[in-house]
């Protein structure tokens, strides 16, 4: 990865003055991802917080070319642009080596954009698809998505007399993408910026599709202070809720494997969306959530070649 000194000299692709919330994970993630790119970029973005807050006409925060078409189709739209680029290259009409990145939230990537994502991966376009996963439809006001953690209080899974929040565990999108047998897949977190940016560099160097699922804290939806965003992302990693790993040509590699994982409740108790779980009646849910994280961790260990010392 480029040194901090070198990174500090690279042009910011996202200009300040955008309208994202203080502490928004998406803004930090987008900045880190674009900073890691050495080539000129064409960025596509699904409808969502990142898109609506960075391109309010007549302004744009994007110093690269930027394409937004709709909610579910950033991967498909960028497929067309990438194909056009190949055609222009073939005809000698463009000299620069351009890289293509599609951003989408979990709504635009796990749910409504899932087909578009799958199609683009299968066709093999050279593009990096970034999911900034904040665990709900935050832009429309915190509705549950298939990425929402079990137990979360959202506006479509509200906690009530007979409800303890979302009933289901999140879809494992990263595993779905791995099943496409593309060259590079990873999970990252903005709390581990060096790991995140190294992964972006790697992904952009791959001659084919690549995908990085990045945890993206949302102070509004998670109900935690904006200044704690990065701390929340870090805790998600340290508790094992969000695993940092990469899958290169099918080979799993864990990138963070602490001697002792912190208990999940340390992450949960800091977020208003899980507050209702901390009652005697819901103790069993906390227990089950912990067991689920443990099970996922074991499964990843089995798939990965890890340093035995850290096991």
């Amino acid at each position: 990865m480029a040194s901090l000194k070198e990174l500090s000299t690279r042009e910011e692709i996202i200009a300040p003055g955008h309208r994202l919330c203080p502490g928004c994970g998406a803004a930090i993630v987008a900045r880190m991802v674009t900073k890691a790119a050495k080539n000129p970029l064409v960025v596509a973005c699904a409808t969502g917080c990142l898109e609506v807050s960075t391109t309010i006409y007549p302004f744009t925060s994007w110093k690269s070319s930027f394409l937004h078409v709709a909610f579910e189709n950033s991967a498909a739209s960028l497929s067309g642009a990438e194909a056009a680029y190949r055609a222009l290259k073939k005809k000698g009409k463009i000299k620069e080596d351009i890289r293509f990145i599609a951003f989408g939230g979990d709504g635009g990537t796990y749910d409504i954009g899932f087909q578009s994502l799958s199609g683009a991966l299968e066709r093999g376009h050279r593009m990096l698809i970034i999911c900034y996963d904040n665990g709900a439809y935050m832009n429309t006001g915190i509705q549950r998505s298939s990425a929402t953690p079990r137990g979360a209080d959202t506006t479509t899974t509200p906690v009530g007399k007979v409800s303890t929040g979302k009933k289901e565990y999140p879809k494992d999108l990263t595993a779905c993408v791995v099943a496409h047998n593309i060259p590079y897949v990873a999970q990252a977190s903005p709390s581990h910026y060096a790991d995140l940016m190294r992964k972006v560099e790697k992904a952009l160097d791959v001659d084919g599709p690549s995908f990085i699922n990045i945890l993206s804290p949302c102070p509004l939806g998670w109900r935690c202070p904006g200044e704690d965003s990065i701390g929340m992302a870090k805790l998600a990693v340290e508790t094992g809720f969000w695993q940092l790993y990469e899958v290169e040509n099918g080979e799993y590699k864990m990138n963070y494997s602490p001697k002792e994982r912190k208990p999940l409740r340390e992450w949960l108790e800091k977020q208003g969306r899980f507050r209702h779980l901390f009652t005697p009646a819901n103790e069993h849910i906390l227990k089950e959530l912990q067991e689920h994280v443990d099970m996922k961790w074991e499964k990843l260990l089995q798939k990965s070649c890890v340093n035995t010392e850290n096991k």
Partner: protein
Amino acid sequence: MRVAMTGNEAVAYAMKQINPEVVAAYPITPQTGIMQKYAEYVANGQVDTEFLTMDSEHSAMSATIGASASGIRAMTATSSNGLAYMWEVVYIAASYRLPIVMPVVNRALSGPINIHCDHSDTMGCRDSGWIQLFSENTQEAYDNAIQALRIAEHPDVLLPAMITYDGFIISHALETLNTYEDDKVKKFIGSYNPKYPLINPDKPVTYGPLDFFDYYFEHKRQQAEGMINAKKVILEVGKAFEKEFGRSYGLFEEYRMADAELAIIVLGSTAGTAKVVVDMVREKGYKVGLIKIRSFRPFPEEELAEALKRIKVLAVMDRSLGFNGVGGPLFNDVRAALFGRNPDIKVVNYVYGLGGREITPNDIWNICNNIRDINLTGKIEKTVSYVGVRE
């Protein structure tokens, strides 16, 4: 060159001559033949196109938008439910002022599911900001594909264009047509030089920003102007086409209208059958003429009213239903065009051919009888009739 081709083959051949940089394909009956043929051209190295086989029509149109915004020519094609499925992005393509040309092979919309011809698919997006050119036969489908590109890319227009033709009747039937030499077509369509390509590292652009109450309206107003300008450009390109290839095209075609008192208005392949019937009833002394609309969007309101100024009774034939309790979409547009311009004309609507139901010369003969009776009695018994349906 005089050749025999199906409608789909002829349109695929036009696409081969256009040789767009990107084509995004997704199959649907009866359009599939276009993309199969085009895939052969790709497989045999006869085109330079990046050929994308997509996961859906929605993705096909999305990729076409991304490609077109990048500053190159991009095409896709569809029918029926495929068009309905891509409707969201069809509207966005027009809003981004991308001159995409898309053949749409007309097929009835579900449900119930049906694969045969009617116009409900393109009527569903008649006001989506796309130019819509209808074709009577294979020759016109081929000619429209070539002209549509030049119309769409005209700087005064910059709107996408659908060229439509009837499923199976045109798409699958073998007809003879004249094709033109590649270099002549290439010269006619010229090169595409967009002002704001997405792919241009020296001058990055943002496509698709959030556009609120302070600017959205102005952008929509400009888009409306593009559609208004399209009328003039369709005529100019039609003239240029006639000069180069010898066949003349306008906003609509008038057939035996000079001395007509009664008239039929129709879209698509039915015009061919109707012309035969007009000749037959003319022999019986009925003064019937025919207008075949080519440019349904933009709709040639003033020109149509002028062409109909001597007509006493007009039959508007709709191959789709408007579920508005009033009548078909063509009927409503024609009546609106005549309002205040032709106060004495009587207009009736004949809905026909839904889901591929045959329309015969006899059916059209009955329509001629009906409008002659209305002219004689001065009475309209039914404003909207359904032709050949069991009621």
